[in-house]
Point group: C2
Chain length 223, copies 2
């Protein structure tokens, strides 16, 4: 085997939609390097861990969320020779899509973490702004041709909530009526539940759960 060895870390782009705004979970670093700067949550891969397991562990530590029902995928790896002043560290970026969660509580493991609107995020520690950009780009692309938008929603949700996800992630407005037909006519996208929900004003909306389908033909966005 060769002598040039790397430390391997996983870093997480955890996205959600809070109050109509695409947001990501960031941590304020408490140790050098980049002490005091914002960074993606992450950590080193343990001796007997695979990459996705390591990312799932970090996700639980940061959000309390287990993977079940949520989305976690690998993004890309970053290993520029000078990306970490401590030496050669390869970071495997991951993307997680989660429903709207309460702000992380002080006193917990994730005391230093908080949600930030993606559009307002400035420079991050290491090359984490590149990883964040890759995660947002991937999320946008995947909404187009998969049913992944529903992973941003709670277990039961309305068509309006789902539409809000698309509008927040893409920054566009969609016609509620055409959107409704599009998603309800896509086999396997939405499973109607027995319940309706009344959101104050207007006619109560049907509640849905995620369906089995994962790919979307035809795609959601048309240029």
């Amino acid at each position: 085997m060769r002598g040039n060895l790397f430390a391997v870390a996983v870093d997480l782009v955890i996205l959600t939609v809070r109050e109509g705004v695409l947001s990501t979970l960031l941590v304020r670093r408490g140790v050098a390097p980049f002490l005091g700067e914002l960074a993606l949550p992450g950590g080193f891969v343990l001796p007997h861990e695979d990459l996705l397991d390591s990312a799932a562990r970090e996700l639980v530590e940061e959000t309390g969320l287990t993977i079940t029902g949520h989305h976690l995928e690998q993004l890309a790896s970053y290993a520029a020779p000078d990306r970490d002043p401590r030496g050669r560290v390869l970071s495997v970026g991951h993307l997680a899509l989660v429903p709207d969660l309460p702000e992380p509580q002080a006193g917990s493991d994730a005391a230093a973490s908080a949600w930030y609107p993606v559009a307002e995020v400035g420079h991050l520690a290491f090359d984490h702004d590149r990883i964040l950009a890759a995660g947002v780009e991937r999320a946008r692309a995947k909404l187009e041709y998969t049913t992944l938008a529903a992973t941003f929603c709670p277990p039961e949700f309305t068509v309006s909530q789902l539409r809000g996800i698309y509008e927040a992630v893409w920054g566009t407005e969609l016609d509620p009526r055409n959107f409704q037909r599009k998603v309800t006519n896509t086999p396997g996208f939405l499973v109607p539940t027995a319940r309706k929900v009344s959101t104050g004003r207007g006619r109560p909306a049907q509640l849905f759960r995620r369906g089995e389908a994962t790919s979307l033909h035809p795609p959601m966005l048309r240029d």
Copy 2:
């Protein structure tokens, strides 16, 4: 820094279309482990190298091709704890799309390498069959919504040649007349050259070069 360190390798899925068949470059391993088995070309990342540079170097060593004008992108990383019997090795898979090249010459650096039709590839060393599958899947997906098919072609090519790429990669038949209009009407996909080429029978075909466009709206394949 942490004590659990990894060796980092890059492995390449190099795809081309030879005689209408999607094919990949594989090497017969000359050293343990997996001695004598087929594997993806690749090697360890050097001390001051970034990942893409390392992959580009391997590509040159295997094919003699420089990246200029060709396509090379990162696929994903693989780091299952038991994927290499020598210890913990993280492999960063890469995807290269290249035009049809002559069979590698005996006596060169790449003496042990040869082209194999993707459909006929059986089990590979390490977890390389997973990486190959990921590369083929990515290539198929990218043809759908990018102009990448042209990177399989020589610098100047006809619409028929380009259509042959799509048919080989997807295993479908496309209507030559509608295909022609589709690609010639997509702004920035093809740049006509001054020349035509006569391929024996039939009317000579216009020669094209790759255009500047990279994305394809609307996509090429419709379910």
